[in-house]
Point group: C2
Chain length 318, copies 2
């Protein structure tokens, strides 16, 4: 597999600029400092994943496109792939866990993708489920994070962020705090913003990237990992293509508790008027809890906003 590159990010950005309006950068005062929130929840599918999916799918050959694509995702990557596939006229099959948020399952189906579920709570392996589909269709797997196109596509958020912060914050970011699942976005941001420290944030008990950074080799999530509302960050382990970038560019990783995440969701509701899903609020949670250092050149990624109404109402109730 080829390595993702800054040149690839620029190529992706050029394609994306003509199809997706740029998401805004919103200032937010936290602990007396203004940090800069990149509102990727405002993408048409409610998450940054549309960037990588568009870059990957629009680079398929006509032969590959005819056989379709297969995505594996709890919902945000799923919607990104489904959105790009519909626009490009490519058949899409999405392998989703049967406990994915309803809003994500419904939106993915509404975009015309075929959904195949697997039993996540029952321990069914998602890669095996995807492999079965791929064997049948001969299609192309669009991995949610271990894919050079996907990493480059997500990196376009970093290019945009830098340009926006140069205009409004007096300079490109020197630190980017970001939710981290498999590390696709984190690696893309690292490549796009070579001057910035990248701070990946994971949910409590799912801090495999933090432990990987600490040990220098890829670690897996423990079999005893607790349930988490951060479904978008529920990845068992990062992969070499991501970790090769992350281990060079991240000093260490952070984790946040469910109550810290909920607090961040409430702050985004009140101060930014944004709906942010638990996983999408992880970076803001780390900032708010004082776990991530901040200054006026710190960017905070708000990565996704697909959450069920009942779940969000519960968060608002505190």
């Amino acid at each position: 597999m080829r390595s993702p590159s800054l040149a690839g990010i620029h190529a992706a950005a050029e394609k994306i600029a003509s199809i997706l309006p740029e998401t805004p950068l919103l200032p937010l005062e936290v602990h007396g400092v203004t940090v800069w929130c990149k509102a990727e929840v405002l993408q048409p599918v409610g998450a940054f994943k549309i960037r990588g999916a568009w870059h990957r799918l629009s680079d398929l050959s006509p032969e590959e496109a005819a056989k379709g694509v297969v995505g594996v995702s709890s919902g945000n990557h799923a919607q990104g792939v489904a959105w790009a596939a519909r626009r490009l006229g490519i058949p899409a099959i999405i392998v989703m866990p049967n406990d994915a948020p309803k809003v994500k399952l419904e939106a993915t189906a509404a975009m015309g993708a075929t959904i195949v579920t697997y039993d996540r709570p029952g321990g069914e392996d998602r890669d095996e489920a995807a492999a079965r589909v791929l064997a049948q269709t001969g299609g192309t797997l669009v991995h949610a994070y271990a894919d050079p196109w996907v990493i480059e596509g997500q990196g376009t958020a970093g290019l945009a962020l830098s340009a926006q912060m140069e205009q409004w914050a007096g300079g490109a970011p020197t630190r980017i705090v970001t939710p981290c699942g498999g590390g696709g976005l984190a690696a893309g941001l690292a490549l796009a913003c070579p001057e910035a420290e990248i701070v990946p944030v994971e949910p409590e008990g799912w801090d495999d990237v933090a432990r990987s950074l600490a040990s220098g080799t890829i670690q897996k999530v423990g079999a005893d990992a607790p349930a988490t509302l951060c479904d978008a960050l529920q990845t068992p382990a990062t992969r070499e293509i991501n970790f090769a970038v992350l281990k060079e560019r991240c000093q260490s990783g952070l984790w946040v508790s469910p109550s810290e995440v909920a607090e961040a969701q409430r702050l985004a509701f009140r101060q930014l008027r944004l709906v942010v899903e638990p996983g999408g609020a992880a970076a803001l949670a780390a900032v708010l809890a004082g776990k991530a250092p901040v200054d006026g050149r710190t960017a905070v990624m708000l990565t996704g906003g697909n959450t069920d109404a009942e779940a969000f109402a519960k968060v608002l109730a505190g």
Copy 2:
């Protein structure tokens, strides 16, 4: 009082461009058509009111600025004035109803404004309350809508909207559906977008502008007007400076029911990941309910997103 002008809107836009990042234009599929939502809820104070306030306050003479400003508002104009005043170092007193949403009262106070409340449910007159304050301070009244600077400032949203729709919708808007209280924004949009039909939308029972348009003369809200959650649109009547523009440019006005408003808030939550307050969702409610005609060149203003968590949770619960 001078009349608001297109030249004034351009002057305001130039000032605002250096201080406020432009709010995004978000596509939304409704009834099989893509309409374009102007997300003014993403302004730093959560509402478009910051535009008019900035234009007005930044044009005060040093003598006027020293005596301070007085605003009258249930909260969004209040925050706009308070935000601009803090940035410009101008003392601000805001006259607010004692039943304003908590989130609006707190945010206005947090920005350093002095708050004077009046008893709205008890029938106390807000203009009299403001007059008392003005008599004491000799300050400048910044009216929430009957002011040429305020109208011009709000009109900058129309200039931005036109530019954004030219890029993404294939042309400037031919119709703008907008929430309407006193008519400051509606008049500003009309002046900024001379090719567009302006469709003002009011809450049920507060449709004084619709009745004014129908009769050709300014009508007041009835004394028996029902309670409404659209506090931002609870204005007793429009004024001549606004109506002079509106009667030339609006064919008719629309009104929406509380359940139509709540439905629009839920759609914005789910499809746009935006928090929109009841009054801010009135235009989307009219579109969703099929009351306002739509096509691919229709813009929908989402004007404010300041709502209490408990109230929003109730809306989500349906």
